[in-house]
Amino acid sequence: MGKTLFQKVWERHVVRELADGSTLLYIDRHLVHEVTSPQAFEGLRLSGRKIRRPELTFSTMDHNVPTTEDRMDIKDPVSRAQVEALSQNCEDYGVTLFKIGDRRQGIVHMIGPELGLTLPGMTIVCGDSHTSTHGAFGALAFGIGTSEVEHVLVTQTLNQRKPRTYKVEFTGTPGPRIFSKDFVLKLIGTIGTAGGTGHVFEYCGEAVSALSMEARMSICNMSIEAGARAGMIAPDETTYAYIAAENRPYAPKGDQLDRAIAYWKTLPSDDDAAYDRTLTIDTSRIAPQVTWGNNPGMVIDIDQPIPEPDSLAGYSRADVENALAYMGLAPGTFLTDVPVDVVFIGSCTNARIEDLRLVAEILKGRKKADHVQLLIVPGSQQVREQAEAEGLPEIFKAAGGEWRYAGCSMCLGMNPDQLRPQQRCASTSNRNFEGRQGKGGRTHLVSPQMAAAAAVAGKFFDIRKWPET
C-alpha cells in the first residue's frame, strides 16, 4: 500500500523506535520565541546541558513586542524582562535571534517561511500551538510545551507517539470573496474543536491546489483549532516558486534547490495511500464564516441567525448559554445587525502581504465607521516593508486605520494592544476564547475582507454583497 505525505515525512525522521511504543523523532528546525522558552533555557543552566545543534534553532520576539512607533522602548517591565531574557539566552547559547528592530523580526510563524527556514519534508517544532502553519509547505510542524522545548534544545529530537491521519479534501470552486479562512472555519464548525485531536490533517483537493502559499498557511494555521496538532499540504509548483523567490536567505539555491525539489516531488501522498479518517467539503457551498461564541467551532454563515441553546450538536445547553452571555448576544440575532467596536487585522493567520492587499481592496477610497477602531498589524517587518512599497499604508490611513509594526498584537494582547471589557471585535486571528484579546473582550473570527467590510459598515457585513467598484 502507498504512503501518505505524513507517513513519508515521519518515517524519514525516525531515529529509533522505543520499547514503550513511542518514537524518537529527529527535528530539523526549532523555532523559539520569548514566552515559552525562558524556563527551558533555565533548565539548561540548572543541568549544565548544552544545545546540541544551535544552528538549527532560530529565535524571534513577537508576543510581547509593542507595535507602535516607540516600540523599542518596552514600558511594561515584565514584558521587557522576558524579551531581554531571550536576548541573553540566545547570546549565551549561540542561537540566531531576529530582535525587535531587525528587518527580519516578526511573528515566528511568519518569518520561518519568509526566510526560507520552512521547507517541505522537514520536521519543525516551536513552543507554540500555531506551528501547524508551516505544514502548508509539506513539513510536519507542530507545537510543543516548554519541557519539550528543552528536550529539543538538548537532543534535537522529540519523543512522540505516532498520530493518526485525517484527509480533508476541499473540492469545487469557491464563490467570490470566499477565502481559505472560510474553508478552515467551515471545517472546524463541521467536526468541532476536538474533531482532529490525535490526528494530522492533510488538506488536499482542487480548491487547495488553487490557493497561494499565503492562503494555504492560513488553513494549516488553524488546524490546532480543530484539535489537530498539525496540518499538511503536499508541496507543488506553487510551493517551489515561493521557496525559490528572492529574499529567502536560508532556502537552498541553485543545484541544491534542484536536488531538493527532486526530493520534494516524492513527498505527495501516493494514490493508494490510506487514511484513518476522511472528510470532503464542497467549497462552492461555503458562505462567509463568522464565529459567534467562545471557541472557533461556534461558527455560522454570515446570513444565519445566532443559534438557540438547544439546537447545537456537540454543545450542551450550558455551553451555549455561557457563550451567549459572555458575548452579549441573543439567539435569533443576525450578526449583520450587530455593531463592532474594534477591527483587528493581524496575527499569524491573516497578516501576510496577500491579506493586506485584500484588505486594501475593500478600504480603498472608503472610510471606517466613526465608532470603530481599526488596527492593521503586519505579521512581520518584511510584510510591513512590502506593504509600504505597494502603497498600502496610505490606503489604510486614509480609511482611518492605524498602521503598526510587526508582532502578535491584539491576537492575544500580551502587549498593550487589548480589547476593553465588552468591546466587540471583528478579528482576522484564530482564537475567540474568553478574554483572549483582553479581559471581557468579545471576539468574532472572520476573513480579512469580512473584517475590513465590518470596519466600513460599522457592523458585520456579508462580503458577498460588497459593491464591486
Binding site: 518515517e11 531515529v15 514503550d20 511504543g21 513511542s22 529527529y26 514566552v35 515559552t36 524556563q39 543541568s47 546540541r52 508576543h63 510581547n64 515584565v78 514584558s79 524582562a81 522576558q82 521547507l119 519534508g121 507554540d128 500551538s129 507545537g143 510543543i144 510545551g145 516548554t146 519541557s147 528536550h151 537532543t155 534535537q156 519523543n159 498520530p163 467536526i191 468541532g192 474543536t193 476536538a194 474533531g195 485531536t197 490546532i224 484539535g227 496538532r229 536536488r259 531538493a260 526530493y263 516524492t266 479518517r277 471557541n295 467551532g297 456537540g314 450542551s316 450550558a318 455551553d319 455561557n322 492575544l412 494582547g413 500580551m414 482564537r431 474568553e434 478574554g435 483572549r436 479581559k439
Partner: protein, 214 residues
C-alpha cells in the same frame, strides 16, 4: 519530573467543555520567566472579580471544594495554546488528577483532552484520565450529592475508587509510555540521552534535502 502512583483527595467539578489554556492561565501571567508562582492565578478571569476578590459565582470557589486535588470536567479540556504554564498553574494550585470524557462526534471517538496539554501534563506529574460521558455524569452527581466527596486514583491498577456513600469504581486506559514515565517520574531528557549514539548515527547519514534510500 514529578512521579505519580496513587492519590487520594477531594473531587471538584467544573461543568464546562472546551476549557482552553487561555482560561486556565491568562496571558498576563505568561510574562514570567519563572516556573513557579502560577497556582493562585489558575482560572484567573473566572476565579476573581474585577476588584480581585474571589468570585462566588465560579464553581471551583465553592467552599465545599476547599482542598480539592482531583478535577472532573467536560470534553476537550486544555485546548488552545501550547503553554505549559497551564499545567504548572494547575499543579501549583493543588491538582493532581484531571478527569474528562471522551465523546462521540459524528460517529468518531473524540478524546477528552487536547494533545499538547496532555503531553505537558504527563511531563509534570499531572495525571489525565479519560472516562466515558456516562461515567463523568455519575461523578458529577456523586459530587453534587455528597459534600467533600473523596476518591482514590490508583495508577498501577488504573482504577478510580470513590469513597462511601458513592462507592463508584472506574477503570481507565493509559498508554504504556506515559504510565511508566508517571510512575517513575523519569527525566525525559536523561532517557533520550541514553540514545545519543543513535542520534549521532542518524545525523551523520542525514541530509534534509535528500531522502534516504530505504
Amino acid at each position: 519530573m514529578e512521579s505519580f502512583s496513587t492519590h487520594t483527595g477531594i473531587v471538584a467539578t467544573l461543568n464546562r467543555s472546551n476549557v482552553d489554556t487561555d482560561q486556565i492561565i491568562p496571558k498576563q501571567f505568561l510574562k514570567s520567566i519563572q516556573r513557579t508562582g502560577y497556582g493562585p492565578n489558575a482560572f484567573f478571569d473566572w476565579r476573581y472579580t474585577d476588584d480581585g476578590k474571589p468570585n462566588t459565582d465560579f464553581e471551583l470557589n465553592d467552599p465545599r471544594f476547599a482542598g480539592r486535588s482531583i478535577l472532573a470536567t467536560r470534553n476537550n479540556f486544555g485546548c488552545g495554546s501550547s503553554r505549559e504554564h497551564a499545567v504548572w498553574a494547575l499543579v501549583q494550585d493543588g491538582y493532581r488528577v484531571i478527569i474528562a470524557p471522551w465523546k462521540e462526534v459524528n460517529g468518531e471517538r473524540v478524546p477528552g483532552f487536547a494533545d499538547i496539554f496532555r503531553s505537558n501534563a504527563t511531563k509534570n506529574g499531572l495525571l489525565t484520565v479519560e472516562l466515558s460521558e456516562e461515567e463523568i455524569e455519575q461523578i458529577f452527581s456523586a459530587v453534587a450529592s455528597n459534600l467533600g466527596q473523596v476518591a482514590t486514583v490508583d495508577l498501577p491498577s488504573q482504577k478510580i475508587t470513590f469513597q462511601e456513600p458513592n462507592a463508584l469504581v472506574f477503570g481507565f486506559d493509559i498508554d504504556k509510555g506515559s504510565k511508566e514515565r508517571l510512575l517513575e517520574g523519569l527525566d525525559d531528557i536523561a532517557l533520550t540521552l541514553q540514545y545519543e549514539e543513535d542520534i549521532t548515527r542518524f545525523e551523520t547519514s542525514y541530509d534534509p534535502y535528500i531522502p534516504v534510500e530505504s
